[in-house]
C-alpha cells in the first residue's frame, strides 16, 4: 500500500507567507521586525538540501514569532533568476538574504556590493565579504561516519554512490564517505557515478538500480534527486540507504539506516544575532560535528541491525572528529 504522506507543513507555510507579507507591506514595517529572505535552488519539500534549510529558518521563525518575517523563493537553480530575486529582496530592505547554494556566490558578491546595509549569506562556500556570510558544512565528516557504516554493513563488499554533479557539497561528502569505507575495510569497493544534474530523478533511480545489479547492497547520495536512490533501494531486499542533508527514513522506513542531518537553525540564529549586533558579514560559519550543527541520526527501526562494535567504532570516530584528533583531508 502507499506510504503515508509526511508532514504537510510546507503547504501550511506557503499559505501562511502571503498573509504575513500582505499584512505588513515592505516599506512601512515597524523597526524591530527582522526580515529574512530565503532563496532555494529546488523546492522546499525536496527532502534534501533545500528542505533542510527551509525547516531551519522556519524553526527560528517559530521561536521569534512576529519579531521575524520570513519569505522564501524556490526552484531558483538558474543563477539569473536567483540574482533577480536576491536583488529584489535587498531592494525591499530585507535584513538577511540567504542564497542557499554555492552557485550563488558570484551574484551575492555582486549585489552585496550595492546594498552595504543588508546581510547576505550563501553556501557551501568560503569567500566572505564585509556584508556576506559564507556557511560551510563539513559534509565529509558525516560522510566519513556513514562510509564506515556502509563498509561494516555490506555483505557483497560493494557500496554505491549516486552523485548529482561532481562539485560543491557532493564531492566533500563523497570524499569523506570513501575514506570512511577504507577505514573499516579497504577491500570494500566503492562504485561512484554521477547523473550530470541535480534533478535527473529517473536517471538517478536507474543508476541506483545499476549499482545494485552490479552487486552494491549499501547506497548513498546527495541533492534532491537522492530520494530516487532511497526509493530504488527500498524496492530491493536487503539493501541499505544512507542519507545526507535530511533524514529520509519517512520515505523508506525499512531501508534508510542512518542519515547525516544539518542543523541550519543554529546557523540562521547565529547570523541574525551577528547582524543585530552590527556585524553584517565577514564570517565563515562552519557546520561540523564539534559545533553540533551536523548530526548523525540512526533510523530507530533499523538501529538494532548494526553490530555493537561497528557502532562503537563510528561513535569513536565521531568523538575524534569533534576533538579534532581525526581530520578528513580533501584532495
Amino acid at each position: 500500500g502507499p506510504t503515508p504522506v509526511p508532514t504537510a507543513a510546507p503547504v501550511v507555510v506557503t499559505k501562511e507567507v502571503p498573509v504575513v507579507v500582505t499584512a505588513t507591506p515592505a516599506p512601512t514595517k515597524p523597526a524591530k521586525v527582522f526580515k529574512v529572505a530565503l532563496i532555494l535552488p529546488s523546492t522546499m519539500d525536496d527532502l534534501a538540501w533545500s528542505q533542510s534549510m527551509y525547516q531551519g529558518v522556519k524553526k527560528v521563525k517559530e521561536e521569534m514569532g512576529p519579531a521575524m518575517e520570513f519569505t522564501v523563493s524556490e526552484n531558483l537553480y538558474k543563477i539569473v533568476d536567483a540574482g533577480a530575486a536576491i536583488r529584489d529582496y535587498a531592494g525591499k530592505g530585507y535584513d538577511l538574504v540567504i542564497a542557499h547554494g554555492s552557485q550563488y556566490q558570484t551574484v551575492v558578491r555582486d549585489i552585496a556590493r550595492e546594498f552595504p546595509k543588508t546581510s547576505f549569506a550563501y553556501g557551501t562556500g568560503f569567500q566572505t565579504g564585509p556584508n556576506i556570510f559564507a556557511y560551510d558544512p563539513q559534509a565529509q565528516q558525516g560522510g566519513y561516519m556513514l562510509g564506515m557504516l556502509a563498509a561494516g554493513m555490506t555483505k557483497s563488499g560493494k557500496v554505491g554512490i549516486v552523485g548529482p554533479v561532481k562539485g560543491g557539497d557532493a564531492i566533500k561528502y563523497n570524499e569523506g564517505f570513501k575514506q570512511g569505507v577504507a577505514a573499516i575495510n579497504p577491500k570494500v569497493i566503492v562504485l561512484e557515478t554521477y547523473t550530470g544534474s541535480f534533478a535527473e530523478f529517473v536517471k538517478a533511480k536507474e543508476m541506483a538500480a545499476t549499482h545494485m545489479d552490479a552487486g552494491a547492497d549499501v547506497l548513498t547520495g546527495t541533492a534532491q534527486q537522492s530520494v530516487s536512490i532511497t526509493k530504488a533501494a527500498a524496492e530491493r531486499k536487503g539493501v541499505y540507504m544512507l542519507c545526507s542533508d535530511m533524514d529520509q527514513s519517512k520515505l523508506a522506513p525499512d531501508t534508510v539506516l542512518a542519515s547525516q542531518i544539518y542543523q541550519w537553525d543554529e546557523v540562521v540564529r547565529r547570523m541574525i544575532t551577528l547582524n543585530k549586533s552590527g556585524i553584517l558579514g565577514g564570517e565563515r560559519l562552519v557546520l561540523d560535528f564539534s559545533g553540533g550543527k551536523l548530526q548523525l541520526v540512526y533510523n530507530p527501526k533499523l538501529e538494532g541491525n548494526i553490530p555493537k562494535d561497528l557502532k562503537d567504532k563510528v561513535e569513536k570516530a565521531k568523538q575524534d572528529i569533534i576533538s579534532g584528533k581525526l581530520e578528513i583531508k580533501l584532495p
Binding site: 506510504t3 504537510a8 523546492t43 519539500d45 529517473v202 536507474e206 545499476t210 530516487s228
Partner: protein, 311 residues
C-alpha cells in the same frame, strides 16, 4: 575491466535497464507519430507527460491501484490533447508556439497540484515486475525481456499495433492522406478535422501514459519536472524513426541502450570524465542521424493548418 564488460551479468543489466528506459519514450514517440502523420506537430509532449505523471501518481495514491493511475494519466493526457487539437486545428494557431505554451502549462500545473495535494515527496507501490512463467527462466533473454512490469510489455506491444493501424486499416490510410495532402483528403470526403482531432487526442493519451509510466511504473513517486526533457527527446525520436513505428522502436531502443551502457561504464569506473559518458546517447543520435538517416521529409502538410478553399 574488459572482462567485466563481457560478463553476462553486465550485458543482461544493460539490456534490462535499456528496456525500462525505452518504455516511456515509446509511448510518447508513438503518440507523437500519430499526431504528426495527421499533420499536427505537438511540441507540448513534455508538458502532457508531466500532467500524466502527476495525475497517475495522485490517482494510484488515493485509490491504491496503479491501474487507476494509468487510466487517470491517459485521461488527463487525452484532455490536453483535445485542447491542443482545438488550438491547432480550429484556431489554426502556430503549432510551434502553442506546443511550448502547453509544455509550460503542463509543467506548472503538475508541480502546483502536487504541492497542493501532497506538499511533500511520498511514494506509491506502483507496478511490480511480473516474471512471465517459463520465458523468464530462459538464460539472458529471460531477465532481459520477461522480468518487467506489465506496462513495459504494453509499450512493446504498441509498436506492431501502431504499425497495423497506420498501414493496414482504413483509418490509417485516411490519416496518412490527411498528413500528406489534406485538400485531396477533403475532396475525397475524409473528415480532415475529425481525423486530426482523433490523432492529436490519441497522441495526448499516449503522452499521458508515458508520464504515468514514470510515476507508477518506474519511479513509484512524483517529483517536480520528473520528465527532465524526455518529452522533447521523444519528438526527436519520431524524426529519427522517420514516422514509422519500427523506426521509432529502433531509435528509442538505441538511445536507451547507450544510456544504460554509460551508466554501467560509470559503475565499472572508466577513466573517462562522467560528463563525456552522459553525453553519449545524444552524440550517438546526432551521428546516426547525420550518417544513416539522411533526408527524412515527413508528412508533407506537417504543422500547416488546413482551411478548405485555401487562403
Amino acid at each position: 575491466m574488459v572482462e567485466q564488460l563481457l560478463a553476462q551479468g553486465f550485458i543482461i543489466g544493460v539490456l534490462a535497464t535499456s528496456i525500462r528506459l525505452t518504455a516511456p519514450m515509446l509511448f510518447a514517440a508513438l503518440g507523437e507519430m500519430f499526431a504528426e502523420r495527421a499533420g499536427v506537430l505537438n511540441l507540448g509532449v513534455e508538458g502532457i507527460m508531466l500532467m500524466g505523471a502527476y495525475f497517475a501518481f495522485w490517482a494510484s495514491f488515493t485509490s491504491e491501484s496503479p491501474w487507476l493511475g494509468l487510466v487517470a494519466g491517459m485521461a488527463i493526457g487525452g484532455l490536453m490533447g483535445l485542447g491542443m487539437a482545438f488550438i491547432s486545428v480550429n484556431l489554426r494557431a502556430n503549432q510551434g508556439i502553442s506546443g511550448i505554451g502547453i509544455y509550460l502549462l503542463g509543467w506548472g500545473l503538475s508541480s502546483l497540484f502536487f504541492r497542493l495535494t501532497f506538499g511533500a515527496i511520498s511514494g506509491v507501490a506502483g507496478f511490480q515486475p511480473v516474471n512471465i512463467p517459463i520465458l523468464s527462466a530462459i538464460p539472458v533473454l529471460g531477465p532481459v525481456l520477461f522480468q518487467h512490469n506489465v506496462v513495459v510489455y504494453i509499450a512493446l506491444l504498441l509498436v506492431p499495433l501502431s504499425y497495423v493501424v497506420l498501414f493496414k486499416t482504413t483509418f490509417g490510410l485516411s490519416l496518412r492522406a490527411v498528413g500528406e495532402n489534406p485538400e485531396a483528403a477533403d475532396t475525397m470526403g475524409i473528415q480532415v478535422y475529425l481525423i486530426q482531432y482523433v490523432c492529436v487526442i490519441l497522441g495526448g493519451i499516449l503522452a499521458g501514459l508515458a508520464g504515468a509510466f514514470l510515476t507508477v511504473g518506474q519511479m513509484n513517486m512524483f517529483v517536480d519536472n520528473i520528465t527532465a526533457g524526455r518529452g522533447f527527446i521523444a519528438i526527436a525520436l519520431v524524426y529519427f524513426g522517420r514516422w514509422s513505428p519500427y523506426g521509432i522502436l529502433a531509435g528509442s531502443f538505441l538511445f536507451s541502450i547507450v544510456d544504460a551502457l554509460q551508466m554501467w561504464m560509470q559503475v565499472i569506473g572508466f577513466g573517462v570524465p562522467y560528463e563525456v559518458l552522459v553525453m553519449q546517447p545524444y552524440i550517438l543520435t546526432v551521428l546516426v542521424l547525420a550518417l544513416a538517416v539522411g533526408r527524412s521529409g515527413g508528412p508533407a502538410a506537417l504543422s500547416k493548418p488546413y482551411v478548405r478553399g485555401g487562403t
